[in-house]
């Protein structure tokens, strides 16, 4: 039972890191990033591949963050001057292309067979002690991430990205170039997603392209919309609900006889769809309330 809660805790914190990045990008800046899972995937594969080659995990994690951030940079350069809706399509397309590349370049990524045997963090500790150590590490990184996002939100930089979200042309009229800010936001959010991906890879120890479908992006969207867009606390609360939902659906499958995993996957995706629609329609400010009163 304890092991179960530790496992849930680790996965939940990985999702919190993902939603911190999206909170910065969408909640504060208004960037409609529909390709979050792409950066998550880049982080996961980068760290996994390096670790399998014997690179120390500290370095492979750093590389995961760096490469995910680096991937965001050219994408931002070409797409950040586009209108919001076009940006959403482009990022969605980007994450699909990342998955296609991972699937196709078998010489590097082992294609659809995926990468098995990714080394765990703290393998030397063994068993439950290692699990606990992983949990503590993810928690520490989450706290640092939370501190960074809060720090940014409360700073002159944060003030300006919120201004960009409210009216981009007015920001330009005041002599500031929104693209310069948006690209930094995109890179920081992507780097966070990259770190989340590295944790994921080394925790699950086996990654395949199918784990990085757009559904993951929209899990994170669901979390921040449910929690309340633009609030760091909202990202955390939303992720907690998301985990309850994901685990609950798994639990349900275990107790209801005759429900296959693919059926449950369908039910899960349908519920995500329905929740997204219902929240957008009836409670766009999320459960935690309107972020203007932050």
């Amino acid at each position: 039972m304890e092991a179960y809660f530790i496992a849930i805790g680790i996965i939940a914190l990985i999702y919190v890191i993902l939603s911190l990045g999206l909170t910065l990008q969408y909640g504060l800046t208004g960037l409609i990033n529909f390709g979050h899972v792409g950066f998550f995937a880049i982080g996961a594969y980068t760290s996994a591949l390096l670790a399998l080659k014997g690179v120390p995990l500290v370095l492979s994690f750093a590389a995961a963050a760096a490469l995910a951030g680096l991937a965001a940079w050219p994408l931002g350069l070409v797409s950040l001057r586009l209108r919001d809706d076009y940006f959403a399509i482009v990022t969605l397309g980007f994450s699909e292309v990342v998955r296609i590349v991972i699937t196709s370049e078998g010489w590097l990524t082992n294609g659809v067979q995926g990468l098995p045997g990714i080394p765990r963090l703290y393998e030397g500790l063994g068993g439950s002690a290692a699990q606990l150590a992983v949990l503590v590490t993810v928690l520490a990184v989450t706290l640092v991430g939370t501190w960074i996002i809060r720090r940014i939100a409360g700073s002159p930089f944060g003030r300006l990205i919120e201004a960009i979200r409210d009216n981009e042309e007015a920001v330009q009229a005041l002599g500031k170039d929104p693209a310069r800010f948006k690209i930094q936001v995109l890179v920081v959010g992507a780097a966070l997603a990259g770190i989340a991906g590295a944790f994921y890879a080394h925790y699950i120890t086996y990654i395949v392209p199918d784990q990085f479908i757009p559904l993951v992006t929209f899990y994170v969207w669901m979390a921040i919309i449910m929690g309340g867009v633009g609030r760091v606390s909202g990202a955390i609360v939303g992720t907690a609900i998301l985990m309850l939902f994901l685990e609950g659906s798994r639990f349900l499958r275990d107790i209801v006889p005759g429900v296959s995993e693919v059926d449950m996957a369908s039910v899960r995706i349908g519920a995500v769809g329905l929740l997204l629609v219902l929240f957008i329609m009836y409670r766009p400010q999320g459960l935690m309330g309107d972020y203007t009163k932050r």
């Binding site: 002159p156 042309e169 009229a173 005041l174 500031k176 170039d177």
Partner: protein, 252 residues
């Protein structure tokens, strides 16, 4: 020292919104532009401030060519515009709106934010001082800490003026500062503009409200169908036969 608008033309599809507009405006002056709806006034502002590209023509500010500059670069060159429909940062308070407008902030770079926190704090203090002055000057103290989205139309116009001031420009382009504003506040805004002008800040003002504008500016231009019909002192311009025909024909 002047803003030179040289033979600017701009067409949307087949419609010539601006047709060879030529104006020279002293940078430190108060200058009005009037004209009926669709005369091209707002398009002229968009082109001058860089939000729309001219098809032809050049724009210079105090001798510096602006043609290749982006809208933010033009603002940094000393010329800030406001918008016809106010574009407040609606989730930010009045105070935050003004602080966001202050130029060259170290805390607006992530590196500066995390590696020079002392300097950021210092600058924030200085900016807060200036913001307080601006708030007092514009008499917005009562709403200083309210989300700007909740302000009245007139207060939003004042806030836009305040944000423009924070950039410390030499020239401010005001797009219909009196539209939708109650008469008491119109007087207030006019006073502020006059006072700022005595401190050396120039204004170009697009206005519909002919009466208010003629009280405010010593010089104005009349536009119609993308062209400047006449330019000069208000009375002289309004007496111009062409203007009477094109613009006031329906009115008088």
């Amino acid at each position: 020292m002047s803003l030179e608008i040289h033979d600017i033309s701009k067409a949307f599809g087949g419609f010539r919104a601006l047709d060879g507009v030529r104006l020279t405006i002293e940078t430190g002056s108060l200058f009005g532009i009037i004209g009926p709806n669709g005369a091209g006034k707002s398009t002229l502002f968009s082109v001058v401030s860089g939000f729309a590209r001219a098809d032809e023509g050049q724009i210079r500010l105090d001798g510096q060519s602006l043609d290749s500059l982006s809208p933010p670069a033009r603002a940094r060159a000393g010329m800030v515009r406001t918008f016809q429909v106010p574009r407040e940062f609606r989730h930010l308070t009045v105070r935050e709106n003004l602080m966001a407008a202050a130029p060259k902030q170290t805390g607006e770079s992530l590196l500066g934010l995390f590696f020079r926190p002392g300097r950021v704090r210092e600058e924030e203090g200085a900016i807060a001082e200036r913001v307080n002055e601006t708030i007092r000057f514009l008499k917005l103290s009562a709403v200083a800490d309210q989300p700007s989205g909740k302000l009245s139309g007139g207060q939003k116009k004042l806030l836009e003026l305040g944000r423009a001031l924070m950039v410390e420009p030499r020239l401010i382009l005001l797009d219909e500062p009196f539209a939708g504003v109650n008469p008491v506040l119109i007087g207030e805004i006019m006073e502020r503009i006059t006072e700022l002008n005595t401190r050396g800040i120039g204004f170009v003002i697009i206005e519909h409200d002919l009466e208010a504008l003629t009280r405010l500016v010593p010089q104005l231009a009349v536009m119609d169908r993308g062209k400047v019909l006449a330019q000069g002192a208000p009375q002289a311009v309004l007496d111009d036969a062409l203007v009477r025909e094109a613009y006031l024909g329906g009115v008088s």
